[in-house]
Symmetry: C2
Subunit: 206 residues, 2 copies
Amino acid sequence: MAISKKTIERLSLYRRLIHDLHYSNRSTIFSHELAAMAHCTPAQVRRDLMTADIKGSSSTGYDVATLTTGINAILLHGHIQKAALAGIGNLGRAILSYFPQRSPTVEITAAFDSDPSKIGRIIHGCRTYPIDDLASVVKDHAITIGIITTPREAAQAIADKMIAAGIRGILNFAPIPIRVSTGVETEHLDLTMSLEKLAYFSRRNS
Amino acid sequence: MAISKKTIERLSLYRRLIHDLHYSNRSTIFSHELAAMAHCTPAQVRRDLMTADIKGSSSTGYDVATLTTGINAILLHGHIQKAALAGIGNLGRAILSYFPQRSPTVEITAAFDSDPSKIGRIIHGCRTYPIDDLASVVKDHAITIGIITTPREAAQAIADKMIAAGIRGILNFAPIPIRVSTGVETEHLDLTMSLEKLAYFSRRNS
DNA sequence: GACACAGTGTGAATATGTTCACAAGCGAGA
DNA sequence: TCTCGCTTGTGAACATATTCACACTGTGTC
């Protein structure tokens, strides 16, 4: 049962919408309601939930508790995964402040920087370490995910260290693609790319 | 000549890679070289450039200057587009500090917040205004793109104001999808979604 | 009961995106 | 000039993602 990236994204979104919008005090929800919240089609919702093996009822829709449990079974998979962030600049700090309590499946437990003046402190509940400790901290805390918010020049070297330390997935905010060995998953969030895409299509729509 | 979202993203990436990696001192580049930098296949590069109507030579590859000019013709389209950011929190500030000089096609010219203590100053070269001035500032500066870094609760209201003011595209960092009228383009960058997706696939790859 | 209704589950059709594979082009060297 | 080796440009095949459309199902009503 392989689930596509797009479906996983939407499952994550569905669960959060249900949680944030207090649908938990309703016991059931219809595909067209979820679709309206997630801005997609009812057919899409039904297909996603079918892929996730979550069943609804023809008359009452989907049971909210079943939905949450079912999505968690896929996304959480038993235990919270731990993440490490490298590069305590403006963006890194913003992510650290934004993230706590955001996801029930991922937790940022350590932050790294090469600048000694930035380490040793606790930022938004997250301990900071020198880069050289990366391997040992990753191992000790069983960290599986890396977040890169360093400048472009440092990104690939940090990624290499992370992978050597056993990290299995990297979320990259640096404006350059990261080369990884097979089996390591990467996700490249590129601000400039997103903005330029938006600029192009906002012009064309007019 | 309609160009797909994915292709536009990669064109933006290609141009930046050529620029950042100082390929400008080489006069030509092959599709497989660009592909290696962008982490995609040579066929993908050739297809993208074909879509963009950029021609190469069978023996020397693509002319770097032609490439840059050609991609700019598409992404820049004559003039820089201006963007406004709403929500001067940690993330908003991080973006303001990160962005200047990043894109030759988009420029963030104004920032807004509802908190009076945050306005009136200039942050990383960007002037800050109270939310109530949004409509007039957007009109005066001919701003076409909005960036939302407010908390979830405020996001939709801000988006509505932006759209009413004539903004044509919205980059949304709030953890909730934004409803827009047809003709307005949105891009939803959701940290939690990206991390959970990464968590899921990094587990599965092992 | 049996009928109507409003929903789900899903095969099939469609749309979108990527890769293959190969003809054609160009330059270098003999 | 001819040929070889490398490249581009691109139709066609393939892969992935979304939507359609409809049989089926559970509930409420008479």
